[in-house]
């Protein structure tokens, strides 16, 4: 139980990630790089610096981060607005030592990702226990990709079950099947993303092949026929938002037991987060 995982958010009062009122634990680190991803902070497994210039109060009032940075990666004012004196992080120089975040009074700079042990996670999840009991709510593990944290994930789910907490997992399906099996045995619901059945486009838009995802899902259906499965597909312009794809997916799911399908609409709420992480948002070109 001394082990820990990097979690980037524990989201309470979550209403759209399984039955009832839930708490979602987001693991950091994902094997895919979906271009539309609305949680870019979930992708890298390490802790990293995120920065929202809107919250920065500028060098005149503060400037603490500049003093704290040992690599000279923080400048003030400059290309965005020369007058405001706000911090600018040169990501090429930054090594994510996180010392700037520790001194930022306005939380404009903060750390994405926190090491949490199983008992810390369960303490956080148990806080809303009374809310779960009134409607089948509970814990949802998400990410990133929870399967990427293999044994920790399975231990967490086993411990949650022991506390009689309802469990759900959101997964992209790209992971070791044995881990998936171990996790599934402690799950009440699984939310499994199938983004595309077109192998080529899948690679192009997510950075990985869909072979493993498809075979994992087929095996899961075979080995856990009683498990409640919700298959979710985000329909993304130019990628999979078309009739052939929809037909292919519904054909693939037809006749499988305990499978429900949910379509997710594309949104760009994550765009600001790319900026906060000093990355580029690659979706603009895909909107029609």
């Amino acid at each position: 139980m001394g082990e820990s995982a990097i979690v980037f958010n524990v989201q309470r009062y979550s209403l759209h990630d399984g039955p009832g009122i839930r708490t979602v634990v987001f693991f950091k680190g994902c094997p895919l790089r979906c271009r539309w991803c609305c949680n870019p902070e979930s992708q890298r497994p390490e802790r990293e610096v995120s920065y929202l210039s809107e919250k920065c109060i500028g060098k005149k009032a503060c400037g603490f981060c500049g003093d704290a940075c040992r690599r000279g990666a923080i400048f003030f004012g400059g290309f965005r607005s020369p007058e405001d004196g706000k911090a600018i992080i040169d990501r090429a120089l930054c090594d994510d030592c996180l010392s700037c975040a520790a001194v930022c009074p306005s939380k404009a700079i903060k750390v994405e990702g926190e090491a949490m042990t199983i008992s810390e996670i369960l303490d956080a999840v148990e806080k809303d226990g009374l809310f779960y009991d009134n409607g089948g709510g509970g814990l949802t593990v998400s990410g990133g990709e929870p399967l990427a944290q293999g044994s920790f994930l399975v231990d967490l789910l086993a411990a949650a079950k022991k506390m009689r907490i309802n469990t759900a997992m959101e997964t992209c399906g790209y992971g070791d099947y044995r881990t998936l099996c171990d996790a599934a045995s402690y799950l009440d619901t699984i939310m499994f993303d199938i983004k595309s059945l077109n192998a080529e486009r899948h690679v192009h838009y997510t950075g990985a092949s869909n072979d493993l995802i498809v075979s994992n899902f087929e095996s899961l259906c075979r080995d856990f026929p009683g498990l409640k499965k919700i298959v979710r597909t985000p329909f993304i312009p130019r990628f999979n938002d078309n009739v052939e794809e929809k037909r292919a997916i519904s054909g693939f799911l037809a006749g499988r037991p305990n499978v429900k399908f949910e379509a997710l609409a594309y949104h760009r709420f994550g765009e600001g987060k790319y900026r906060a992480l000093g990355r580029e948002y690659n979706m603009a070109e895909h909107e029609g």
């Binding site: 989201q11 309470r12 009062y13 979550s14 209403l15 759209h16 990630d17 009832g20 009122i21 979602v24 109060i57 009032a61 503060c62 603490f64 009074p105 306005s106 939380k107 806080k127 809303d128 009374l130 809310f131 009991d133 009134n134 409607g135 709510g137 997710l264 609409a265 594309y266 949104h267 709420f269």
Partner: protein, 825 residues
């Protein structure tokens, strides 16, 4: 997920109306509503005038007798009205929205008030020149020197007085230890309306006459106490019967001129009904509703009840009439709903006029809360919901009006359909109903000595209080205490920046010299205790003085303990009663957050020194933004963070310990309460920058809600913080008002309703007293600030009540926008 916002039904309706450019007018009550929303409220002088005239003639007589004669004088002379379209009649002022005068309270401020009322920012009133002259020459001149307000000010010792009033002629409030007894003669109250429906005032009068005949003609007590009491009851019965009969006359007069056949038959029925009730027992739903409404309005004439007289458990006492009429086939739900809505639009026309700016600021948006209670339990502890309960809820969804203030009682046995319809009504977005939790209220009432049947039968009263008709006997309004001011006094060694160099509180030492958080916290607790001390001294004087200033013959006639003992309701001690009072903790979140921020940033992390923090606050954080950000981002209340919540629990405990020790000296259960109305705004206007990063003179946190915008862990954490700061091992606590703002997307669809029910059930299981919801998009509120004329109908939940957003002051509007809106994720 699209970027188009999900609208609440209320928002969608307003958007539709804007698109059509016209408001759809359907039905009589809509027509009445449209008419009354035109124009600002006006002052009607008749109540103040006839009351004064009568009092001039009865000097020296027993107070309750004088009061009853004044009511009789009013009933004989005041104008009566039968409004177009109305089915239910009875009003105590001119057509349209009106406020009336209670010069016996704070008539000393009348002269100044009539100049200021039309132009004041908060809750303005219009007044004609003739009426203004009459007020000065006929009303104010009599009351100056005789009002409760002046007497109270005279009786307060200087140390208490300086925390209460400014040293000016109108005795304006300091908003520190604020008394509320001079702008209302009773706290929120509920009559036993069943007495009227079952006996009629003829029956009540007969009982009193019979009692008179049995008095001992040689007994001094019978002669000087019981006889005037019983005569006053007889007078007030005569008054209300006469007043109703004059309405019958008026309806007959109009009938003679009316050509429309349908209206003629309505007028005939009005005339017949007003001859029948409230004199006699009600025979059907129509008569019951009319009888209750007459009683309510006459109660308004009698006295200024805080937040206006409440309606009690309407779905219970009206049910037998409703059920009987329905079974007989003479009433359907649409007709029942229309009659109730006739009452709601009448309520909406009565506007609670506060002369003083303190009173006006307490109740912004012309607020009054004639709470209507629905649901809950029967006297024997079973589920009380019935078909009529659902008519009230339907009316609330369909009729866009902020009256009455609908309060739904919830308990562990509330049926699913009830919770479902309550949740659907909340989703409409207008903030109704507020919820009151039987699981918290009933045990507390029991702990004060109530029987089970009385406790199960409580009514919601006013904003969030609960009353047991025929058992509650304490009517004295109580102190609102600004504990953020106590915090400021701990910073400035007994002074406040707003009041300059005047020493107001204790000298607890220079801010810079505190060596530890414990030392500072102790100093604050001493200031807190000092405020409580003066609040209780103030209360002692209020209780003593009220008995000589106020009487309530009608209220007493409708209270079994009063009639049994022949004691006026406003006397401090009534045989067999339970006295439930309260005092208000203002600025709870502000104080907790300030203490938590100091503990963390100053004493633990040592990022800022006390000297530097003080310097920053003296400059209102201007030029000290980094310090402000540090303080703002420290642990705060409302996030289920034990760091802050443990401080809150201590504040709550210390206040309860104080009242536990001293309230019985006042003869009252003086309970700790967190219900601000809108007063967290004016209380904030005297408090300079606070250590939680709050800027000077901004609103304080409201009720037991978190500081505006600081509750970032979602609504479950808000509930849990509330839970964890309560001291369940004590009984000296009453209502905690809790506002939760949800975006419509949280409650969308059937699934959203289900999850709202789950949330409500958990609130119930946590034994929190009260909760109310605003289901609105923030953008809508911003838009309404920009284009008020389009959003005249936009109702928002404020504090125990809802009001039209565009009628609120800019400060309060901003405050509501700043409350954190919880999104689901």
């Amino acid at each position: 997920m699209s970027n188009v916002p999900v609208l609440s039904p209320q928002e969608a309706r307003i958007a539709d109306e804007a698109a059509l450019e016209t408001v759809p007018i359907a039905g009589r009550t809509r027509r009445i509503l449209e008419k009354i929303r035109e124009g600002r409220p006006r002052i009607d002088v008749e109540r103040g005038y006839y009351f004064t005239k009568s009092f001039q003639r009865t000097d020296g007589e027993p107070l309750i007798l004088r009061w009853s004669k004044a009511l009789l004088h009013y009933a004989e002379n005041a104008s009566v009205y039968v409004d177009d379209d109305q089915l239910i009649v009875g009003r105590c002022g001119k057509p349209g929205r009106y406020g009336i005068l209670y010069p016996e309270l704070d008539g000393n401020t009348l002269r100044e008030a009539i100049v200021n009322l039309p132009s004041r920012e908060v809750s303005p009133f219009d007044i004609s020149d003739d009426d203004a002259r009459l007020i000065v020459t006929e009303i104010a001149s009599y009351w100056e020197g005789r009002t409760f307000h002046e007497d109270l000010a005279k009786s307060l010792a200087p140390e208490t007085r300086k925390l209460t009033y400014n040293d000016d002629e109108s005795l304006s409030s300091r908003f520190i230890v604020n008394e509320t007894a001079s702008f209302r003669s009773s706290i929120q109250w509920v009559h036993d309306y069943e007495i009227v429906l079952e006996k009629g005032f003829i029956g009540i009068r007969m009982d009193a006459e019979e009692r008179v005949s049995r008095l001992d003609e040689f007994s001094p007590v019978d002669n000087t106490e019981k006889k005037p009491f019983l005569q006053a009851v007889i007078n007030v019965c005569d008054a209300i019967i006469l007043w109703a009969a004059r309405h019958a006359d008026e309806a007959e007069r109009l009938f003679a001129f009316e050509t429309d056949e349908i209206r003629r038959s309505e007028l005939r029925r009005i005339a017949e009904t007003c001859r029948r009730v409230p004199a006699n027992p009600a025979r059907n739903f129509y008569e019951a509703v009319q009888s209750q409404w007459f009683t309510q309005v006459f109660s308004r004439v009698e006295q200024k009840t805080g937040t206006v007289i409440s309606n009690g458990r309407m779905d219970q006492y009206l049910y037998p009439y409703y059920a009987r009429d329905k079974a007989a086939g003479i009433l359907d739900d649409d007709e029942a709903q229309e009659l109730l809505e006739c009452v709601w639009v009448s309520m909406a026309q009565f506007v609670d006029l506060y002369l003083s700016s303190a009173g006006g600021a307490f109740n912004e948006g012309y607020a009054h809360w004639e709470a209507v209670t629905i649901g809950g339990q029967t006297r024997d502890g079973n589920d009380a919901t019935n078909d009529l309960t659902y008519v009230f809820l339907r009316s609330k969804r369909e009729f866009p009006l902020n009256y009455p203030d609908l309060a739904a009682r919830v308990n562990a046995r509330s049926p699913k359909r009830y919770l479902y319809e309550v949740a659907e009504t909340i989703k409409d977005g207008a903030g109704f109903p507020k919820l009151i939790n039987d699981e918290e209220v009933v045990p507390l009432l029991l702990s004060k000595g109530a029987r089970f049947d009385e406790a199960y039968d409580y009514s919601v009263s006013g904003c969030a209080e609960c009353r047991m008709p025929n058992r509650d006997t304490y009517t004295s309004p109580n102190a609102y205490i600004n504990f953020a001011a106590a915090l400021e006094m701990t910073v400035y060694n007994g002074k406040m920046l707003y009041y300059g160099d005047e020493a107001l509180g204790l000298e607890t030492g220079e801010f810079e010299d505190f060596k530890s958080f414990g030392e500072f916290f102790d100093a604050f607790l001493r200031q807190q205790k000092n405020f409580l001390k003066h609040a209780f001294i103030q209360q002692h004087e209020i209780i003593r003085l009220r008995a000589a200033h106020f009487a309530s013959p009608l209220g007493s006639a409708l209270h079994r303990l009063c009639t049994e003992s022949c004691t006026d309701l406003h006397q401090p001690k009534i045989e067999g009663g339970i006295d439930l009072g309260y005092f208000e903790y203002m600025g709870y979140g502000t104080v907790i957050d300030s203490l938590a921020a100091m503990k963390r940033v100053v004493f633990e992390e040592k990022k800022v020194t006390l000297a530097k923090l003080k310097e920053a606050m003296l400059h209102n954080y201007e030029g000290y933004e980094a310090i402000r950000q540090l303080m703002l981002n420290a642990p705060s209340y409302g996030n289920d963070d034990p760091y802050a919540d443990e401080i809150g629990k201590i504040l709550d405990m210390e206040a309860q310990k104080f009242t536990s020790k001293y309230s019985m000296e006042l003869g009252v259960h003086m309970d700790l309460r967190y219900v601000p109305f809108t007063s967290h705004v004016p209380f904030g206007r005297v408090v300079s920058a606070t250590p939680n990063g709050r800027k000077a003179y901004f609103p304080l946190s409201d009720g037991s809600s978190a500081t505006q915008g600081s509750d970032v862990n979602g609504p479950t954490a808000v509930l849990l913080s509330n839970f964890r700061t309560k001291n369940y091992d004590r009984r000296e606590h009453a209502a905690r008002l809790l506002n939760v703002k949800l975006s419509p997307s949280c409650v969308r669809g059937e699934d959203g309703t289900e999850k709202l029910i789950q949330f409500i059930r958990t609130w119930r299981d946590l034994r929190l007293w009260h909760i109310q919801f605003n289901v609105l998009n923030r953008e809508t509120l911003l838009e309404a600030q920009k284009a008020p004329e389009r959003y005249r109908n936009l109702l928002v939940r404020i504090a125990g009540y809802s009001a039209y957003f565009t009628e609120l002051s800019p400060d309060l509007q901003s405050d509501i926008i700043a409350r954190t809106q919880h999104e689901s994720f």
